[in-house]
């Protein structure tokens, strides 16, 4: 069987860093090849090389056995290569059909003619029908759900006639049901004779969808395994590279495994946070929370699960004073703070680890010390600030240990450490953490989880919003599920199976 796409000794360096180091593999029609590896292992760079976004320093790419040099991504696309990006590249005010044909618009009266909207809509409908991705070509993307948007992304690639389709972390924001549907779509693409590259760090999903698994570490391809019979633990060890050290923070095979923390016993049932019948609207003015009630106790970690856009963000913002409540009541330690703004809530001991670190939580243009100083009020005393910064840097192992360095110059993991140092360093009573481990490598993930656990052990209540159900099961005491702005269910962490959570997330069990 001739492979459609071949990589032969591809290398690419950025400065002194060899991001991709002599990687070779072959991909045949009807095959799903999964690329796995830690953050920074070179997965995304490799994809970008294959699809013409970067040019390789060394090595070559062969398509149908012939060596090709991509002058541009458009060049690769014209030869039948397409990528479904991790973050959607959609234009919200435009329709589905307009988004799909953008850049290769069909025209009336030949090349110079006006845009043939009807033909675009017809063709998109045809492709959608053929590939089993039902969607209304005339719908505005702004009004679509996350899963539907991803469908538009896939349609974009297919409408352009891709024979090789690459998926970059496609299930990040999807719930279990949507993830499963996506996996089915991927398998169907392969069955239809296309070749698929599937980049993910969710090993169970990878094993479910791929025929082979290629493991990248530090830019090198360290192993290629048949998916059948491959064990997640082995792959994880290959990814981390240190076979002796047990990989921390890896997804656990089953809930309640040996490494999960011992059940914490609570002394007095002190309620830190009480939210009753909370309702609020999202940025567009649509209802986002519709009567959510929650109570968090000291020392407790409560996970919030749900498909993206079901009110998690708004819940976190309501709790931290960033979004006003339309109805309901918010109490922290028995004090009514329904109308309090962020400043007052923070003064009352509420800490916030927001989802978008560098834009939502940290100030990239300011120094480490200044970022830390912004966590608490009071006049600035330069000497004290430097001392406090030095202490925080030591306590949270922020590298490099330079208080004067700009936050934007830190690596992602160290940025998150800085954020935690600011938010957890002042011994908060309530911690609201949103996707605190997203985008971090495994070691940094483990560190973040450990810090959250410490905060809880120190008496804080922690609300953890995450899409990663394994993570929630690992460190939360109980998990509440949000769907369409309502709490559709709650389960003790050890009883929360994928199936049960999935049902709750889809709202079916509500």
């Amino acid at each position: 069987m001739t492979p459609i796409l071949e990589a032969r000794g591809l290398s690419r360096s950025f400065g002194e860093l060899r991001a991709v180091d002599r990687v070779s593999f072959a991909l045949a029609a009807g095959e799903v090849l999964a690329l796995v590896g830690e953050n920074g292992a070179g997965k995304t760079t490799l994809l970008n090389l294959l699809l013409g976004f970067y040019r390789p320093d060394e090595g070559e790419i062969a398509l149908d056995g012939a060596v090709r040099r991509w002058r541009s991504p458009a060049d690769a696309e014209a030869r039948g290569l397409g990528m479904v990006h991790q973050h959607f590249t959609l234009v919200e005010p435009l329709t589905v059909a307009e988004n799909v044909v953008l850049g290769r618009e069909p025209r009336r009266f030949g090349l110079a003619g006006p845009f043939d909207r009807r033909r675009a809509e017809r063709e998109v409908a045809e492709v959608a029908e053929r590939e089993g991705l039902p969607i209304d070509p005339r719908g505005r993307v702004a009004e679509l759900s996350v899963a539907s948007r991803q469908r538009v992304e896939i349609l974009k690639v297919l409408w352009r006639g891709a024979r090789v389709v690459a998926f970059d972390e496609p299930t990040g924001a999807l719930g279990p049901a949507e993830s499963e549907a996506l996996c089915e779509t991927v398998r169907r693409l392969a069955r239809g004779g296309r070749a698929v590259l599937f980049v993910s760090h969710k090993l169970r999903e990878v094993l479910a969808v791929a025929s082979r698994v290629a493991v990248l570490r530090a830019g090198r391809l360290v192993a290629t395994l048949d998916a059948k019979g491959a064990e997640p633990e082995r792959i994880a060890r290959l990814m981390v590279g240190d076979a002796s050290a047990p990989p921390t923070g890896l997804p656990r095979p089953s809930p309640g495994g040996a490494a999960s923390p011992p059940p914490r016993s609570r002394g007095v049932d002190e309620i830190v946070l009480r939210l009753s019948d909370a309702a609020c609207r999202d940025d567009r003015g649509a209802p986002a929370l519709r009567g959510v009630s929650l109570a968090l106790h000291t020392g407790e970690i409560v996970g919030v699960a749900g498909v993206d856009g079901n009110g998690q963000r708004e819940l976190a913002e309501v709790l931290t004073g960033l979004r006003p409540l339309d109805a309901g009541r918010l109490e922290v330690e028995g004090v009514d703070l329904t109308f309090a703004r962020a400043r007052e809530l923070r003064a009352r001991g509420v800490a916030h680890v927001p989802e978008d670190r560098l834009r939502g939580g940290l100030f990239g243009a300011l120094s480490v010390a200044e970022n830390l100083a912004l966590g608490s009020p009071g006049p600035l005393r330069r000497r004290r600030l430097v001392a406090e910064a030095a202490a925080a840097i030591r306590a949270y192992d922020i590298r490099p240990p330079e208080p004067g360095m700009r936050a934007s110059a830190l690596s992602g993991g160290n940025q998150q450490k800085l954020l935690l140092a600011r938010e957890l360093g002042r011994r908060p009573k309530l911690v609201v953490a949103v996707h605190p481990t997203r985008g971090l490598d495994l070691n940094a993930q483990a560190l973040v989880r450990a810090r959250l656990r410490e905060a809880a052990a120190g008496g804080a209540a922690v609300l953890l919003v995450s899409f990663d159900l394994d993570e929630l099961r690992e460190i939360a005491d109980r998990i509440v599920v949000l769907c369409a702005g309502r709490v559709t269910g709650e389960a003790a962490a050890r009883e929360a199976t994928d199936g049960r959570l999935g049902l709750l997330m889809s709202g079916a069990a509500a």
């Binding site: 959609l90 234009v91 435009l94 953008l102 845009f115």
Partner: protein
């Protein structure tokens, strides 16, 4: 003659420069680049339009030169904002400051003793309306036609689709294999051509000569018209018409000689159009939502 006719004629005579500059602003901002340099571009368009018209003794040559100069100024702004990755507002301000000093100098250097004001320049054809004066129909036609054409371009052509897309999400355009920088460069240059045309109309259709103070803030009014018109070509036209109407109304009220004019200080009348604009922006229009990527520089490497 009814006051209404007066109002309409005044609008048709004085709105075109602002309307075309505002169209330029729309074209640029719909592609994601804030054009704060409209004032400077109009100034270049007006000056070079007048100069070329004087040199060639043809208003049409002047008009083309104004458009060309505007396009060149737009391209300079585009180069700063897109390729040099300057802050777009800074780049626009820089262009305004450059136009201010340079045109003052060129005016005296190139047009000699005339000093602050040039000789009368050849005028574009106009229609006599008797006591109402002359209607510069070329300018009025351009004001009505060009926004309509731009509207069609944005709504009905592949280029327009990309144009709107690059102002909303340049990443999507890049992913579709279209050059974001190329598209934006084109858009800002086109924006300069429109604003340059608007500027050239000042000497060629409105006042019959160039003077050093031109365009006397009309580029900034155009900027407000872009927002007021909610970033649509026809909306900007409507806003320009509204401003010209407010100005005409102000003159109408203050020259009616009535008790009102005697009581209310003239400064208030002069400030009225700006006050109305501010009030409109603050309340009457509701919240206008700019293109999502408006003012955001395209940095392909940014995460």
């Amino acid at each position: 003659m009814s006051e209404l006719t007066t109002l309409v004629v005044s609008i048709l005579a004085f709105a075109p420069p602002v309307a075309l500059a505002a169209l330029g602003g729309v074209l640029s901002e719909r592609a994601g680049v804030v054009n704060l340099g409209l004032e400077g571009i109009m100034r270049f368009g007006a000056f070079f339009g007048a100069w070329a018209a004087l040199a060639s003794q043809s208003a049409w040559v002047g008009l083309s030169a104004g458009a060309l100069a505007g396009g060149a100024a737009g391209a300079l702004l585009a180069a700063l904002a897109i390729f040099a990755e300057a802050d777009q507002i800074v780049a626009g301000v820089a262009l305004n400051l450059l136009a201010l000093g340079l045109v003052t100098f060129l005016l005296e250097w190139a047009l000699g003793a005339a000093g602050g004001i040039t000789d009368p320049v050849p005028a574009l054809p106009s229609l006599s309306l008797g006591g109402l004066g002359r209607l510069p129909w070329v300018a009025a036609a351009a004001m009505l036609l060009l926004p309509a054409l731009a509207s069609l371009l944005l709504a009905k052509t592949p280029l327009g689709l990309r144009w709107r897309a690059v102002g909303e999400n340049p990443r999507a355009v890049a992913a579709a294999g279209v050059s974001v920088r190329g598209l934006r460069f084109f858009a800002v240059t086109a924006s300069g051509v429109a604003a340059g045309l608007g500027g050239a109309l000042l000497p060629l259709a409105v006042l019959g000569r160039f003077e050093d103070r031109m365009p006397a803030g009309q580029g900034f009014i155009a900027l407000a018209a872009v927002v007021f018109g909610k970033w649509s070509p026809l909306g900007a036209l409507g806003a320009a018409v509204f401003f010209a109407g407010a100005e005409a109304l102000q003159i109408e009220i203050s020259s009616s000689g009535g008790a009102l004019a005697a009581l209310v200080p003239r400064g208030l009348f002069l400030a009225l159009p700006y006050l109305l604009t501010l009030l409109a922006l603050a309340g009457f229009v509701g919240r206008a939502v700019p293109p999502a990527a408006d003012g955001v520089p395209w940095d392909p490497e940014a995460r």
